[in-house]
């Protein structure tokens, strides 16, 4: 397994753990459960997979190409979802003259990160499976 694959699996695991933590805490503390998204900070350990060990090639041109394509797919999905949410969901929930709570803005940053990285990681793993 390449370093890129390991990082993709790690990202998916961290995202899953974060979402499960939010889901488990929500019945008890309500929207404050979104604080569990702070577990996404573990994603900061992802670069450790790219440590160079002896003469082993950590990342080559194929890995870079796969990463680039995956990032493009992740960003495209994020943008479509973001536009849909901002254009239709927000006015429906908060009303045309309503205001968006500050916490929603804060959470949206984490959920945007989760969406982007989740899709990117999945796209990475699918591309490696296809060869």
């Amino acid at each position: 397994m390449t370093a890129t694959q390991k990082n993709a699996w790690f990202s998916l695991a961290v995202i899953l753990v974060s979402l499960i933590a939010v889901g488990c805490l929500y019945p008890f503390i309500g929207w404050k459960a979104n604080g569990a998204l702070g577990l996404c900070g573990l994603l900061g350990f992802g670069p450790l997979f790219y440590r160079k060990r002896s003469s082993e090639v950590v990342m080559d041109e194929r890995d870079l190409l796969i990463e680039k394509r995956a990032a493009l797919i992740g960003y495209s999905v994020f943008w479509v979802v973001y536009v849909l949410l901002a254009s239709f969901f927000a006015p429906m929930v908060f009303g045309k003259a309503g205001s968006i709570p500050v916490m929603v803005v804060q959470w949206s940053v984490f959920y945007a990160l989760i969406l982007f990285l989740g899709v990117k990681s999945l796209a990475t793993l699918v591309q490696y499976t296809k060869g």
């Binding site: 090639v57 041109e61 890995d63 490696y128 296809k130 060869g131």
Partner: protein, 75 residues
């Protein structure tokens, strides 16, 4: 209207590996500076190398690029 022409790339990397003292995929990968997974993807035709990588592979076998990589028209 003509059918969709697709030009694919075939290669003889596996043959040249065996002809060069049965070089392993890892040995070739280390020689040209890529991972073994990339060599596997190249040999199975699932990945087309960059020009630099193709030249490095040809140089490692001491042959021309055209001897290793060939264009295949799929009309």
């Amino acid at each position: 209207m003509a059918g969709k022409d697709r030009t694919e790339l075939s290669n003889q990397i596996r043959r040249f590996r065996f002809e060069n003292n049965e070089m392993t995929q890892q040995a070739l990968a280390t020689q040209v500076g890529v991972s073994r997974q990339t060599i596997i993807a190249l040999e199975s035709g699932k990945y087309s190398p960059s020009l630099i990588l193709a030249l490095k592979i040809a140089k490692s076998f001491n042959v021309r690029v055209e001897d290793i990589f060939q264009l295949v028209d799929e009309s």
